[in-house]
């Protein structure tokens, strides 16, 4: 019994990481209205930004959060300019290919600039743990969950309470109408994209701390997982994307627990496909633009 509880906790904490990535992903897709394959690279850049901040300045968590957020934000601007800006009226596969090309570009540049090898991530926080019902939970796991919850809350408040968040939502629902209402659609979209990227960057830093290592190619699998998680949540719904991430994490870990680790990614995908077949729009109702 303990064993399955333990696996459940593993799943939850891994799911929390997926959730964090998925929140960023859903924000991007929600406001831009296009699917992106650059998110993995955004995550990677965030992790490397924090890595260099830790190495050159101080091993301070807040410094890490700010640097990774800022670096990914900047990358978000570039992504917006390269992959989205001129393609809002184009068929959707075109920006999609652009993002695939861009992610290839960033990944290969990163291998050249950062070096292709795996590096140890400095640990800005002490790795302690607490025991809950006989299950050991690490500080970093708690930290991740706390950050996921607080970021979702902040995002929710910004989105629903501030003027600016309302603009963001308006743009994500109808770009033309928003433009008619005097909203600067281009700028709002770009900022929305940057927020999503920034969140991805923070997720990257946390991941790197959690796994204590970074690698230029770490983004590939992670980007895919964030994509899957947010699809499960209907792609644009932020809380549902977070829930989707957690569900994927739990599915993977319980799949490993009950069956075999060899098919780990299969569990996630089969679960996803089943959900999609039963509820074609993911676990939530459609909110905002349909990508």
């Amino acid at each position: 019994m303990d064993y399955y509880l333990m696996q459940l906790v593993n799943g939850l904490s891994q799911g929390a990481i997926y959730a964090l990535m998925a929140i960023g992903y859903a924000t991007i897709v929600g406001v831009v209205g296009m699917v992106t394959f650059t998110h993995g690279e955004v995550i990677m850049i965030g992790a490397y930004a924090a890595f260099y901040a830790f190495s050159f300045f101080a091993e301070n968590l807040f410094l890490g959060i700010i640097t990774s957020f800022a670096a990914s934000w900047l990358l978000g601007i570039v992504i917006y300019k390269v992959c989205y800006e001129r393609f809002f009226d184009s068929p959707r596969h075109i920006p999609l290919i652009c993002t695939i090309g861009f992610s290839m570009l960033i990944k290969n540049l990163a291998q050249i600039v950062f070096g292709p090898n795996m590096k140890a991530m400095p640990q800005p926080i002490d790795l302690g743990f607490i025991n809950v019902l006989g299950v050991r939970i690490n500080t970093i796991q708690i930290l991740i969950i706390v950050i996921v919850i607080s970021l979702s809350t902040i995002l929710y408040i910004v989105n629903s309470k501030t003027r600016w968040g309302i603009q963001l939502r308006a743009v994500s629902q109808d770009k033309k109408a928003s433009a008619l209402m005097g909203i600067n659609v281009q700028r709002t979209t770009m900022i929305g994209n940057c927020i999503g990227c920034g969140l991805g960057g923070v997720a990257g830093m946390l991941l790197a701390i959690y796994y204590q290592s970074i690698l230029p190619t770490m983004g590939g699998v992670l980007g895919l997982k964030s994509f899957i998680s947010s699809v499960l949540g209907g792609l644009t719904n932020i809380p549902a994307a977070a829930l989707g991430g957690i569900l994927i994490g739990v599915t993977e870990n319980l799949g490993t627990a009950f069956l075999s680790n060899s098919y780990r990614d299969v569990f996630a995908f089969v679960f996803l496909v089943l959900v999609l077949i039963i509820k074609p729009e993911g676990i939530s109702k459609k909110v905002g633009g349909r990508p």
Partner: protein, 340 residues
């Protein structure tokens, strides 16, 4: 500019169709004699292989407007089916190839079932998931697929007692597969079946209101595309004589997709151009060493900026978007459509 060139080429071609056809066929047949260099022939073979593979993806993405990004999965099934039949059961290449195509097309049918309910990016993610699921199964089902050890020693095909191996011989197989693909696909596209696919791509609701059974047509379309992916996979396996699951990753699927889109969706010629460009770029920039893929990636992006509908993509399609400057050109181009 490019499109003008193509239009001109087409015009010239139409004028002297017969002579050009004959010259072309002779040229195609003697290319290996003109280029006895097997490195270049190897690249030509790779281009031809990818061209047909991208073409088969184009059937799905370009002609029925569905969105498949996991084409590597179909490719894998074709390759493994042929390899298993040829090594474990000692089948000869030709029947194994057909069976590979059929098996892949059955799998294509199964994958298409969710299309009854899903569309757009949701369908895309199902195909992506399918591609990974298939790959992981191939990696783990050791008894049948050799698991991580892959399948080695896949025998070369034989034709009238000749063993076909090496790119110079194989060129003809890839060429025949490619030409057959174009020939058959062209016929289908110009029939009721092809028209129904295109009508679904352009406006599914309207197509339905005209009695086109969208779901059946989409399934058939998926099966047909998958069939050719299986055939190409089956020719791929004995060409390299060794296959393993790491040859069919998602990146490979993205690669095929990029070829289709660079070349242009919705035209038969597009994927061929895309496959050629993509393969050649990655070979020509070999001198750039570690910057090679950086250049490749930049070129993909530049291509999308410069010609989003692909180098020779269809103007006369919803896939080209709503670009006003394109619309003008559409008019002149569509004059040709009436006479087919």
């Amino acid at each position: 500019m490019i499109s003008n060139t193509f239009e001109n080429v087409k015009k010239i071609y139409k004028k002297h169709a017969k002579i050009i056809n004959i010259v072309l066929i002779i040229l195609l047949l003697i290319i290996p004699r003109l280029m006895p260099n097997s490195y270049l022939m190897g690249i030509v073979c790779r281009i031809l292989m990818y061209a047909t593979l991208a073409g088969s993806l184009n059937i799905i993405n370009g002609y029925s407007g569905q969105f498949n990004i996991g084409h590597a999965g179909f490719f894998l099934i074709g390759a493994y089916t042929e390899a298993i039949l040829a090594t474990t059961y000692g089948w000869s290449f030709w029947p194994a190839m057909i069976i590979a195509g059929i098996v892949t097309s059955i799998v294509g049918f199964l994958v298409s079932l969710p299309t009854l309910r899903l569309r757009g990016i949701y369908l895309a993610i199902v195909t992506l998931g399918f591609s990974e699921i298939i790959r992981i199964i191939a990696l783990n089902w050791t008894d049948v697929t050799g698991g991580p050890m892959g399948i080695k020693g896949i025998p070369s095909p034989e034709l009238f007692g000749f063993r076909i191996s090496g790119p110079v011989d194989y060129y003809y197989i890839f060429l025949i597969v490619g030409i057959l693909f174009l020939f058959i696909t062209n016929r289908i596209l110009k029939s009721r079946v092809g028209r129904s696919w295109i009508s679904i791509r352009e406006d599914e609701l309207a197509a339905k209101s005209l009695g086109v059974e969208a779901n059946r047509a989409k399934s058939a379309n998926f099966m047909y595309g998958a069939f050719w992916a299986g055939i190409v996979g089956a020719t791929y396996a004995p060409y390299y004589k060794f296959i393993a699951s790491d040859m069919f990753t998602l990146d490979e699927g993205f690669n095929i997709l990029a070829m289709v889109i660079i070349g242009g969706q919705g035209t038969l010629i597009g994927p061929f151009v895309g496959a050629s460009i993509a393969t050649l770029i990655s070979e020509v920039f070999r001198f750039a060493s570690q910057y090679r893929m950086v250049i490749y990636a930049i070129l993909i992006i530049v291509m999308m900026w410069w010609r989003p509908q692909g180098l020779v993509g269809a103007y006369d399609s919803i896939l080209a978007g709503d670009d006003k400057s394109l619309k003008k050109r559409k008019k002149s181009i569509t004059q040709k459509v009436g006479d087919n």
